[in-house]
Amino acid sequence: MKRANPIRQRLAALSLLGVPLLTYPLLSLPSGTWGGIPATYLYLFGVWAGLIALAAWVAERRGI
């Protein structure tokens, strides 16, 4: 049997990882401010940027 494409699976796994990280209840965790900037703002953009960086790393390493 041909094995399913590992890159597609890794990306889909990233998507599944993103769902709990970017929805409630985890989203209510960051509170207050970090360095004068609201923690929620930093958390959302941080997790989002992290997902994008991981996706770029996975996708650009080898061909789909």
């Binding site: 889909a12 998507s15 970017l22 409630y24 994008i52 960086a53 996706a55 061909g63 789909i64």
Partner: protein, 903 residues
């Protein structure tokens, strides 16, 4: 300074530039040098960021804080499911699908009904979205004009209508140059990608200007916002709205692939599947960057203008203007223009294709007018219909804007559209992954979802605009409380979007699954289901030819192609097809299933799969295969691949087995040769004593006068030789038994010292006869091992008798030693005989090899004693070897392991 005419000139100039980019892209595509790279593809996806993103996000952030981000997080997560998107692309390429209506209709048996339904839902759903773009553009123009105090009026028409007209012309010029919609609009994609770059630069420039120019950076903005109770609320998420948050992520995730323009860009305009691997991260990165300054802009606007100041939807323009940065405001205006034009162009092109192929064509095909014009070239008519459709859609958008637009903020309008296209999700996903989904199910699901959407979202939006009475929203239809449009069955506490999403999805999925499970697909549906769901496995070459059976005339098919594609293009495609089948021209080809498939695919590219099927059926007599037969063919098509994989595996197994057999055969041959050697050696060894017995017996028999002494000597030799013969045969039998594993062993505790002593005692007379000294230092009670006592005695006697054989008579000395160390008992028999060369040390353990020179000396043993001894010792886990040098005597050593002490 900002006169109305200057703004108009700037906008026209920018649109001219866009047009130049598009022409350049088209020219390069025609020359075969596509400029659509992975980066261009990824940027073109950003057509998702419309003026809603550009102006509306800031507006939403002023009321909902960070919740605007859901609209961009959903697409990020959806895009990561690359497998789904690749499957959509692969199916669309295989089936020459040109729109989302075509996709759904094609999957469920090329149904005209479904295609029409999807088109109607898409048009009704997306018109508000187009109105939103017009509204945003009108608002941006108004802001700039207000600032300069001038106005533009041409023949008494308002600016929004002018904008709509210009956009319509622009879209028509862009999108309807070619007829075949699968012939990609590369120029349009290039222009959209260019616009994406412009809008992100413009938005970020404004963001940086406001954040760092007007305020002291992000930290300063947030701190000043936190000081006010109203704005402090915007900095944190309200976990009471967790449901809305999730609903919006789902909604936008679906919208990114099901909005007609997104489907167009992601699927239809895709040049190369591998471009996705760039888009999968570059497009989300784009979304992230364009959103970083949304909240700072919203806070900046609120701080600068106060709560009741300017319209928050236009902060992007009013903030720079408030500081007199007119150039920046113009850049922002151009950015907003890019966002709106990009969306309108792609959306109207996608919708016009759907309207033309799935609404107008079916009606035309049934009309008598078209039958009358039988021989006419219809390709011009098709383009005309599409152009009219573009104009009509923009007109509808304008009307919606006039009637209902004022009551809603930009984002509110956009979400109504998102919820409408989300209704495609069950039929799309079900169609791609569930073969059992049927046309009846898809129709039922779409209808149910659409009705719920209409009742709970669109009509209330009309009511809100005062366009119709709002009784059904406030008191429920017919005054029934549980029918309140935005609290259906008393489900309150949700915002209207989540409320509509949950109810419509429940109705949609429920109807789709329930009806699908209770209906049977027809033959066409079943075969299309197989082609869609198993697109990566479907063996097209094998199945396609057998799925169509009937009679067709090539001339009639070619006539069809010429009518719908235009004569020039039809001939071009036919020539290419003939070439691919290695024929000189299409006239040499039989009108077989393959040819019919080709014609239908070409037509599908022009008029959609449902209409194409009807047209081909009108000129070809197709036999009805029946569901059972179709299913059989499809089963085979998918199983052939599986079978060939199984065959390959079997073949590999066979090869491995063959190799093993060959090796086993080699081993057997080797053994056979060894056996032959053994037998010839054995017979030779047996013949030697027999020869001497026979010779002496003959002498005794033939010569009666032989004297008694000779007779007695001869008889003695005969007896000796007979004994040797017996010993030899016994040992051969012993050897054979051991080698075949049939020897009998009786294992028990054996005192090795006792064995050695007894063996020495039993051979004492032999040593004494030859005058050889036998000495040994054996402990009274030696080490005890697990072994066969008789066999060990046999080994010991063999070693001692060998020693006595080879030492010189009189001066010979044999020393026996017994010791134990490291879990082994070691027995040594040392003699002072002639010794052995290193080579001899090895060969004496081979069968029938004897010490000394066998050529000259009389054999003194059978040549089997040492091999047998070695086998015995090895059987008990020990070793037997010899250490010797010529002239220095030989030292035969064997070891037997001591039993492992029990714990």
């Amino acid at each position: 300074m900002l006169s109305g005419w200057f703004i108009a000139l700037l906008a026209t100039g920018y649109l001219g530039l866009l047009f130049a980019v598009a022409r350049f892209g088209d020219a390069r595509a025609d020359a075969g040098k596509s400029i659509i790279s992975a980066n261009v593809y990824a940027l073109s996806l950003a057509v998702y960021c419309t003026s809603w993103t550009f102006y509306g996000s800031v507006g939403r952030a002023t009321s909902g804080g960070l919740s605007f981000l859901t609209i961009y997080i959903g697409p990020t997560l959806m895009l990561l499911c690359v497998g789904v998107i690749i499957k959509m692309i692969r199916i669309s390429k295989a089936q020459r699908i040109t729109s989302i209506a075509d996709f759904i209709a094609s999957r469920y048996g090329k149904s005209q009904l479904l295609a029409g339904m999807v088109t109607v839902i898409a048009v009704i759903g997306v018109v508000p979205y187009i109105a939103l773009q017009l509204k945003a553009m009108a608002a941006s123009v108004d802001v700039l004009l207000q600032h300069s105090g001038s106005s533009v009026e041409v023949w008494g028409l308002d600016s929004t209508f002018l904008i709509a007209v210009i956009l319509a012309l622009f879209s028509i010029l862009f999108g309807t140059r070619h007829l075949d919609a699968t012939e990609r609009h590369e120029g349009m994609v290039a222009a959209v990608a260019f616009e994406s770059v412009v809008k992100i630069i413009a938005f970020m420039a404004v963001g940086i200007f406001v954040t760092y120019g007007m305020f002291g950076g992000l930290g300063d903005l947030f701190q000043r916002a936190a000081a006010s109770a109203d704005m402090e609320r915007l900095l944190h998420l309200d976990s009471g709205r967790a449901g809305t948050w999730t609903a919006l992520i789902i909604l936008s995730g679906l919208a990114i692939i099901f909005l007609p323009r997104q489907f167009q860009i992601i699927v239809v305009e895709n040049v190369d599947e591998s471009h996705l691997k760039r888009a999968v991260w570059l497009f989300p990165l784009y979304l992230l960057l364009i959103n970083i300054f949304v909240l700072p802009l919203a806070l900046g606007g609120l701080l600068h203008f106060g709560a009741q100041g300017a319209n928050p939807d236009t902060f992007v323009l009013t903030l720079p203007l408030a500081r007199g940065a007119e150039a920046l405001a113009l850049l922002a205006f151009i950015g907003g223009l890019s966002a709106a034009t990009g969306m309108v162009i792609v959306e109207t092109i996608a919708l016009s294709t759907m309207v033309c192929n799935d609404l107008v064509m079916p009606w035309l095909l049934h009309s008598t007018w078209l039958q009358a014009e039988k021989r006419q070239d219809l390709s011009g008519l098709l383009i005309g219909i599409r152009r009219a459709a573009i104009a009509l859609i923009l007109l509808l958008g304008y009307i919606y804007f006039r009637l209902a637009g004022e009551a809603y903020a930009l984002v509110g309008i956009g979400l109504i559209s998102f919820t409408a296209v989300a209704q495609f999700a069950p039929a799309m996903f079900g169609g791609m992954y569930w073969k059992q989904g049927t046309r009846a199910g898809a129709v039922a699901g779409l209808l149910a979802g659409f009705v719920v959407w209409l009742y709970t979202l669109l009509l209330p939006s009309f009511a809100k605009s005062g366009w119709m009475p709002s009784g059904f929203v406030e008191h429920g239809l017919f005054g029934l409380g549980w029918l309140k449009a935005q609290a259906l069955f008393g489900l309150g506490g949700l915002d209207e979007i989540s409320h509509c999403l949950w109810w419509s999805m429940l109705a949609n999925m429920g109807a789709y699954v329930a009806v699908s499970l209770n209906s049977r697909p027809d033959a066409v549906e079943a075969s299309q289901a197989e082609r869609f769901v198993d697109v990566f496995r479907f063996d097209a070459r094998n199945a396609e030819a057998r799925l169509w059976r009937g009679k067709a005339s090539p001339d009639a098919l070619v006539g069809l192609l010429e009518r719908f594609l235009g004569a020039a293009r039809a001939r071009q495609q036919l020539a290419a097809y003939a070439l691919s089948r290695q024929a000189a021209g299409w006239r040499n080809l039989p009108a077989d299933a393959d040819f019919v498939q080709f014609a239908e695919a070409e037509l599908a590219g022009a008029i959609g799969s449902a209409s194409a099927r009807v047209m081909v059926a009108s000129v070809a007599q197709e036999e009805d295969l029946g569901l059972e037969e179709v299913l059989d063919i499809l089963d085979e098509a998918t199983q052939v691949r599986a079978h060939s994989r199984q065959l390959e595996a079997k073949q590999r197994e066979l090869e491995a087995a063959t190799n093993e057999l060959r090796e086993a055969n080699e081993r057997l041959r080797e053994l056979d040769r060894m056996k032959d050697d053994f037998i010839s050696t054995v017979t030779h060894e047996l013949r030697t004593p027999l020869t001497s017995i026979r010779a002496l017996s003959e002498m005794l028999h033939e010569d009666p006068r032989l004297d008694l002494a000779d007779r007695s000597r001869f008889l003695g030799i005969i007896v000796n030789e007979a004994e040797r013969l017996t010993r030899l045969i016994n040992q051969i039998l012993d050897m054979a038994k051991m080698e075949s594993g049939r020897a009998e062993w009786t294992t028990g505790a054996v005192d090795l010292g006792e064995v050695v002593r007894e063996s020495m005692a039993s051979l004492e007379h032999l040593f004494r006869e030859k005058g050889v000294a036998l000495a040994g230092n054996i402990p009274a009670s030696g080490p005890v091992v697990q072994a066969d006592r008789d066999r060990l005695t046999q080994v010991m006697i063999n070693l001692l008798s060998n020693a006595v054989k080879f030492v010189p008579g009189g001066a010979g000395r044999v020393q026996v030693g017994l010791s134990s160390a490291a879990g082994l008992v070691r027995v040594e028999v040392h003699d002072n005989g002639p010794g052995l060369t290193a080579e001899e040390c090895n060969v004496i353990f081979e069968k029938f090899r004897q010490g000394g020179n066998t050529m000259t000396d009389k054999p003194q043993g059978t040549g089997l004693g040492l091999p047998i001894s070695r086998q015995i010792v090895e059987y008990f886990g020990g070793n037997l070897w010899v250490e010797s040098e010529p002239g220095a005597g030989a030292n035969f050593i064997f070891t037997v392991p001591l039993p492992v002490p029990e714990e």
